[in-house]
């Protein structure tokens, strides 16, 4: 099954309480995905010339402060680690791709969840309602965010197999459905230099988007190409630095509902998640059409 939630704020009031709203949405979707949960939060842009990196390590007592020292030596300015449950967030002076390469070479024990100016990905196994508490999601302010609750069907339940999957700087993907051509596509993408952390089908969709965007496609073009490249069932939500996009497979196997008010735009697998939002009863509400890309973005943040 799996559940998806996306929320985009159009007002300061919504932005201030976005984490609390998203928590309520994810809790409603807990029944659709009790195995794990994750969020991509877009907030607090890194200073110019720096990026934020969200890291995960299985080791409970990982010496994040030692990593801070190493990062400072190699990259110059680095923030103190902000530890959130099993994850840690750093703001590092430098370029995202270099940082990612260095982390892969020097610290294979770490998993890079996200890198970008705005994005922070957190995800973990277990009940979504517990996740919301453990990661302090309720007190978060953000411009927009995506969330996912996972009911695993085709690969293991681990933190790495959880959604969202990073698809490049400030980009991520959440997926409800299953893909049937992911093994072959993964091989093809590996030949193109795309790296994968798991055998998960959704990660291949994320990898495909990463590759297309690297090839110069804009998000809408890349998503439209998914309709031909991916065989299977899907509702995707894609987070970007300034908004999010939604795509359903051409026969709309997986549910999705969207709604908009003067304060927010939301998408979710089921209406009961959106019903948690203020003013939901009077929102304009619709079901996204199969095979059509929907995209919201604010004025590009400077």
């Amino acid at each position: 099954m799996c559940g998806i939630a996306g929320l985009f704020s159009k007002s300061f009031a919504t932005e201030e309480r976005l984490g609390s709203h998203l928590s309520a949405m994810l809790s409603q979707l807990a029944d659709r995905g009790p195995d794990s949960a994750g969020v991509a939060i877009y907030r607090d842009p890194a200073p110019s010339g720096s990026v934020k990196v969200s890291l995960f390590c299985e080791e409970r007592d990982y010496p994040w402060n030692r990593l801070e020292g190493e990062l400072a030596e190699v990259f110059g300015s680095v923030s103190e680690p902000k530890q959130i449950a099993t994850h840690a967030l750093f703001t590092v002076e430098g370029e995202g791709p270099q940082l990612q390469r260095w982390l892969a070479d020097e610290h294979p024990e770490l998993r890079v969840m996200s890198i970008g100016e705005h994005i922070e990905i957190y995800k973990e196994m277990g009940d979504p309602r517990q996740f919301v508490k453990d990661f302090g999601l309720e007190s978060v302010s953000a411009s927009h965010a995506l969330g996912h609750t996972r009911m695993a069907t085709e690969s293991r339940v681990t933190t790495e197999h959880s959604h969202p999957f990073s698809t490049g700087l400030d980009l991520c993907l959440v997926h409800n459905g299953s893909l049937s051509n992911h093994n072959r596509l993964r091989l093809e993408l590996r030949r193109e230099g795309i790296e994968f952390q798991t055998d998960n089908d959704s990660e291949v969709a994320a990898g495909y988007l990463t590759w297309r965007l690297q090839q110069g496609d804009d998000l809408e073009t890349a998503l439209n190409r998914c309709l031909d490249a991916l065989d299977g069932f899907y509702t995707f939500a894609v987070g970007t630095a300034d908004g999010f996009a939604v795509l359903r497979d051409p026969i709309a196997c997986k549910p999705a509902v969207m709604a908009e008010t003067g304060d927010w735009v939301a998408m979710a697998s089921e209406w009961r998640a959106i019903a948690e939002l203020p003013g939901a009863e009077d929102a304009e509400q619709w079901e996204p059409e199969p095979g059509r890309v929907y995209h919201w973005a604010r004025e590009k943040v400077a």
């Binding site: 026969i251 709309a252 509902v257 089921e270 009961r272 019903a275 948690e276 009863e281 079901e287």
Partner: protein, 232 residues
């Protein structure tokens, strides 16, 4: 007949769906006939499995399988509904003031489902005797494998209308994006105009039967060939 101020009220902000449905089922044995459900907030399976002449008003948006398996009861939803509204309905009336998600009226055997907004994909899939009137439009694969009953669409129909249809009768006023396998346009005879007029009236749809086209089975698929009868 509609629920009045005297209706028995269940507020789902405090009561559970199970509690609501249990009370409705108990009422079949001689309880209140008029019910009002407040704060539905997209909850699933509201007023499912009713088997008595109750009148239930749902004051907001409902989730999946609302009024599923309905028999005898009248259920009105003052909002939108999720997947599978009135699925496998046996008899009675279900009215949705807003729009419906996928598989509205799926496998329904009887009764009338009225959707005053639009319905999305697979509306009336495998219908087996239910009547469905949609004031707006429907998505793709409407009446897929429809066996019996009538589907009336006052707006447009998406691709693959009536794919692999058996004996269900389809009436569409607007554009049909495409017909599914073995579905063809058919002549609109007087008997069809008459039954369409009746359905439109029952559904409160302000439309002229003369503006509709009729679609149904060409009866040319494998299943219809008598030489293949032994395969079943």
């Amino acid at each position: 007949m509609s629920a009045t101020a005297a209706a028995e009220t269940v507020d789902l902000a405090s009561a559970s769906v199970r509690e609501l449905n249990q009370r409705l089922h108990d009422a079949a044995g001689g309880g209140p006939a008029a019910w009002r459900v407040e704060n539905p907030s997209g909850a699933h399976a509201l007023a499912a499995g009713l088997d008595a002449e109750l009148d239930v008003e749902i004051d907001g948006h409902a989730g999946y399988y609302c009024a599923g398996m309905n028999k005898h009861a009248t259920v009105r939803v003052a909002g939108n509904v999720g997947v599978g509204v009135a699925e496998n309905m046996m008899s009675g009336l279900v009215v949705v003031e807003g729009s419906a998600s996928q598989a509205a009226g799926a496998t329904g055997r009887g009764g009338l489902l009225v959707i005053k907004g639009s319905a999305s994909a697979r509306c009336g899939i495998s219908m087996k005797g239910i009547d469905i009137v949609v004031h707006g439009s429907i998505g793709h694969a409407g009446a897929f494998m429809g066996q019996k009953g009538r589907l009336v669409v006052c707006g447009d129909a998406g691709p693959d209308l009536g794919d692999s249809i058996y004996e269900a009768r389809l009436y569409v006023r607007g554009e049909v994006a495409g017909l599914g396998a073995d579905c063809i346009e058919k002549e609109m005879r007087d008997e069809h105009t008459a039954e369409l007029r009746e359905l439109l009236e029952l559904a409160g749809a302000d439309a002229d039967p003369a503006d509709f086209r009729r679609y149904g089975s060409a009866r040319e698929l494998y299943t219809f060939d008598v030489d293949n009868a032994g395969s079943y």
